[in-house]
């Protein structure tokens, strides 16, 4: 690793979790692994924060939790995007892109 992993910008964790669930139901550990792999270790997500995000999204009705069998033959909680969650993901992704472009445009001048 060339760089220290970056701390997460406020408010992006929920977006990342929702994005991770697009491909299908996953449990918490699976999401953690997925984020780590996709960002090649550039982003550091604490497991504690991840679970807090999952339960928060569950309360908000953006994801749904159900028990199911896991790889190691135990019971795991699998999270699925709800229709509401999908819509939120679309909106937040668009917002994030606009935000990033705006920041980039500003920084490009320097």
């Amino acid at each position: 690793m060339k760089h220290q992993p970056l701390p997460l910008v406020q408010g992006t964790l929920d977006l990342l979790v929702l994005r991770a669930l697009v491909s299908g139901p996953m449990h918490g550990y699976g999401i953690a692994k997925l984020v780590q792999e996709r960002t090649e270790g550039h982003l550091s997500i604490e497991d504690a924060a991840l679970y807090q995000a999952l339960h928060r999204l569950d309360r908000q009705g953006l994801v749904e939790a159900e028990w199911g069998p896991s790889e190691n033959n135990r019971r795991a909680r699998y999270y699925t995007l709800t229709a509401e969650g999908r819509r939120r993901l679309r909106e937040d992704t668009a917002n994030w892109r606009r935000y990033a472009r705006a920041v980039e445009a500003l920084l490009g001048e320097a």
Binding site: H27, G28, Y29, A32, E46, D47, A48, A49, Y51, Q52, L54, H55, R56, D58, R59, S70, N72, R74, R75, A76, R77
Partner: protein
């Protein structure tokens, strides 16, 4: 499936599942690290390090989960409630008669109670609509047992010397003729001292208040008019302030217009004129009502002390014209004065309608208990299928909630209609009717009645239905062994209905008996053929005695020439609504002992032919004549029998002498005749003696009474016409036959009696429905038993008697309790009764007989059905 899971899941469950999830995560991470070559113990530690603050995360997640859980639970409960309501709604639609009876009767109770409460609230509970009303008092001359008004001398001395009040004011009412140049109308004016509106805290909406200058003798007469006077009489003329209006032939400058909303004291007044009082030559007459606003820092006892001190100081100054040394000044809260004795009547009406509501709820309760019983199987099935006892209870309460809501919805228009009626006609016994409205406390009462209804007729059957055990499933639907508890409960409820209805009927009976007794009171003359009205001649147009005498003479001649007129006479008071004078006197033969007040009796000035026109009989001595009327002082008076009996029970009355009105310089007054009694003080009051004096032929104010040979009402039009022809600017006031006046004076009592009787009738009807329901159910439940009896040779009469006796046992118990209760209750209304005792045996027996008769009829219907049973068919069905 999900619903079930959520209902089972509790707080512990939430925590356990969360722990399992986190544990699983840590295990997977450890396994991965071990697979990467780390020793298991280190791997576990590393996994926990990577996880971060486990405890905080666990706490946060648990909170989120619990919140979600609660939300879901609420949602489910709401859905259950909707479902309960839907089931309840369908159930009620299947029993339309019961639903209608409950909604209608409870709605009636709620509506009537709300309307009466609104009136009591406006009259009794609300503070007066003046600024800081708790500091407002009425001040009066206190000469127990009488309370007198103030005189101008009193007012002037009091305002000058007092220090306890921010401001004080006096007022007196006067009907006046308002003329707009073409026609004259009678308006109710009030003469006020300049501080009147300041005392009450009322500011004119336009223009200015009266000032001290307006009250000085000789100033331009000033008037403040009400918003309605401005609107109706002056057509909202914009430049009204500064313009002149003509009252009793004199001009008044309008200095301002009052706001539309005034207080109860101002009700019915059209305009207010500034009084101008100069120091009077003698202490009387006493005609000023006094108001005062206490200073915030002065307590009442100190203010009363000051009132007495001022009164004592001024007493010697007026000794020559006023001797009642015992009389002092007192005060009472303005609210007490305004409210008057509304307590008894308002309380009685409120209790009566409240009881109807209660009885309607009990009736509903009893009907619903019966319904629960007939649905025991349904409820038992629900319970057996896993519905908890709480769920069944909720389901039954939902039904009650629907019924209560329906009743409230039915009750609201009734309440509004009731409020309109009380506003229009209730002024006879409720002050402040204009302020009655459905708001604030009235709305709370409405909500309270709805909730009370749900609890009253919901809880009893619900608790009962909820207690049903699954055992009911095993029993046959027709079995009655398990329902004996229900039967007993229903009987208690129905007995309760009769116990509540009985006092209502007793009160209604007593009020009707009172009304009838008042209608039969001998007032002292034949009321059927007398018609009359009042006239007042102002100094502006009738400046001297000559013009007054001319007017009355011409008036008399014109009226005497009308067809059907048998006699015309004049007086300054009129039976039964206008007794204007009381006077005190000192008998020569029976001087008032020191420390006691002089006797005070009605004092009526009459024209010489008054006795003849009214048909009063001369018992002794002579009547008054023209010579008596011409005297400056009152030298001769005629008294009535009651006076003679009161003051000279054993001796001769003719020739007795007295000093009238405390006038020490006047010559003695002699009794010259005794006539029969007239009930001037009121139909329901004992005779206290009346003194007749001669009416001056040049009086300004007079009542005209005409005896007719035909229909007296037919003469009202011609009488008005005579007045119009003689003086188009003179409004002829309160023209009516004496019978109509008596009728009007009884209207307050009559509407109270009608209200209570209607309420009692509803209560009786509901009780009859109650006992009918119980007995119909009894017959249905015992059809087998009855069939067996009859199959074994039992007579139809026996069966009939069996059913009726069962029912009447319940009724008799309730009526007995009710009679005992009413004997206690009617004592509180003794002040409303006349000519009948509060425990009148005839009324009590009559009510008991009536209730028994109605109950017998209600029991006879099911009993007839019982004897119509065909034993063979019933037993075959078994």
């Amino acid at each position: 499936m999900k619903r079930f899971w959520y209902l089972r899941r509790g707080r512990n469950r939430v925590a356990t599942e969360l722990d399992e999830e986190l544990q699983h995560h840590l295990d997977l991470r450890t396994e991965e690290l071990v697979a990467g070559g780390m020793p298991p113990a280190d791997a576990r530690r590393e996994a926990e390090r990577q996880f971060g603050d486990l405890r905080a995360a666990r706490e946060y997640c648990r909170r989120q989960d619990n919140e979600k859980d609660d939300a879901v639970r609420r949602q489910l409960m709401f859905e259950d409630l909707i479902q309960d309501l839907r089931i309840g709604w369908r159930g009620l639609l299947r029993a339309p008669l019961m639903t209608m009876i409950i909604v209608g009767s409870v709605g009636l109770g709620i509506g009537a109670t709300t309307a009466i409460f609104a009136a009591v609230d406006a009259a009794y509970l609300r503070p007066l609509p003046y600024s800081n009303p708790d500091r407002l008092v009425r001040i009066y001359t206190d000469a127990p047992p009488n309370r007198f008004l103030f005189s101008v001398a009193d007012y002037l001395a009091f305002t000058e010397q007092q220090k306890s009040f921010e401001r004080v004011a006096g007022y007196t009412n006067r009907p006046m003729a308002y003329s707009d140049g073409q026609v004259a109308e009678r308006v109710d004016a009030r003469i006020v001292t300049w501080g009147y509106f300041g005392v009450l805290g009322i500011r004119p909406a336009m223009g200015r208040d009266f000032t001290e200058a307006d009250g000085r003798p000789g100033a331009q007469p000033a008037a403040l008019i009400t918003a309605s006077f401005w609107k109706e009489r002056l057509h909202e003329k914009p430049d009204v302030v500064g313009s002149r209006i003509r009252l009793d032939g004199a001009d008044y400058t309008v200095v301002g217009v009052l706001p539309a909303a005034l207080g109860p004291l101002e009700q019915g007044r059209a305009c207010f004129l500034s009084a101008q009082y100069a120091t009077p030559p003698r202490k009387g007459p006493f005609f000023l009502w006094m108001l005062g606003r206490l200073r915030p820092d002065v307590d009442r006892a100190a203010a009363i002390d000051e009132l007495r001190a001022i009164n004592r100081r001024m007493f010697p100054i007026w000794r020559s014209s006023y001797q009642d040394e015992r009389a002092t000044w007192g005060m009472l809260d303005l609210k007490t004065f305004v409210v008057g004795d509304v307590g008894t009547i308002g309380g009685l009406a409120l209790v009566a309608v409240g009881l109807v509501w209660l009885i309607a709820c009990v009736n509903a309760s009893s009907l619903l208990v019966a319904r629960v019983t007939s649905r025991r199987r349904e409820l038992a099935v629900r319970a057996a299928l896993g519905a908890s006892r709480g769920r069944v209870l909720r389901y039954l309460l939902a039904e009650s909630l629907l019924l209560a809501t329906g009743a409230t919805i039915a009750g609201i228009p009734l309440a509004l209609a009731g409020v309109r009626i009380v506003r229009a006609f209730g002024a006879a016994y409720f002050p402040r009717t204009a302020e009655i409205g459905v708001d604030g406390p009235v709305l709370w009462l409405l909500i309270g009645l709805t909730v009370g209804s749900v609890l009253l007729f919901g809880l009893v059957p619900a608790v009962h239905g909820g207690a049903e055990k699954a055992d009911a499933l095993r029993e046959s639907g027709r079995s009655s062994t398990a329902s004996s508890g229900v039967r007993r409960l229903r009987r208690v409820l129905v007995a309760g209905q009769f116990a509540i209805a009985t006092p209502l009927l007793v009160v209604a009976g007593l009020l009707l008996a009172t009304l009838s007794a008042l209608g039969h009171v001998d007032v002292g003359f034949d009321t059927h053929s007398i018609v009359g009205g009042g006239l007042s001649l102002p100094p502006a147009q009738y400046p001297d005695a000559g013009s007054l005498v001319t007017f009355w003479d011409r008036f008399r001649q014109r009226v005497e020439s009308l067809p059907g007129v048998a006699g015309v006479t004049f007086s300054d008071s009129r039976f039964p609504d206008s007794l204007n004078n009381f006077n005190n006197f000192e008998l020569e033969d029976a001087p008032t002992p020191p420390g006691k007040g002089q006797p005070v009796v009605p004092w009526v000035a009459v024209a010489p032919d008054y006795f003849k026109v009214f048909g009063l009989t001369l018992v002794e001595g002579r009547l008054l004549d023209e010579r008596d009327a011409a005297e400056q002082n009152v030298l001769s008076v005629v008294v009535d029998r009651a006076w003679a009996r009161r003051f000279f029970p054993n001796g001769r009355v003719i020739g007795r002498r007295m000093i009238e009105g405390g006038c020490t310089t006047c010559p003695h007054t002699t009794v010259v005749g005794v006539v029969s009694n007239v009930k001037y003080v009121g139909l329901d009051k004992p005779d206290q003696g009346t003194v007749y004096t001669a009416l001056s032929p040049a009086s300004r104010v007079s009542f005209i009474s005409v005896r007719t040979s035909g229909n007296p009402s037919a003469l009202i039009g011609p009488l008005r016409q005579v007045v119009r022809e003689l003086d188009p600017n003179r409004p002829f006031s309160t023209v009516a036959t004496v019978d109509d006046l008596i009728d009007t004076s009884l209207s307050g009592r009559r509407s109270l009696s009608v209200l209570v009787s209607a309420v009692a009738a509803v209560a009786l009807l509901l009780s009859a429905i109650g006992i009918y329901g119980v007995m119909a159910y009894y017959v249905q439940q015992h059809s087998k038993e009855i069939a067996i009896r009859m199959a074994l040779g039992g007579g139809r009469g026996d069966v009939f008697r069996l059913v009726v006796v069962q029912g009447m046992a319940v009724v008799t118990g309730g009526v007995a309790i009710g009679l005992i209760a009413s004997m206690a209750a009617t004592r509180a209304m003794a002040s409303l009764l006349f000519g009948v005792s509060a425990v009148d045996p005839a009324t009590l027996t009559g009510v008991a007989a009536m209730m028994t008769a109605v109950a017998l009829a209600a029991c006879a219907l099911p009993a007839r059905r019982a004897i119509a049973v065909e034993p063979a068919s019933v037993l075959r069905d078994e």
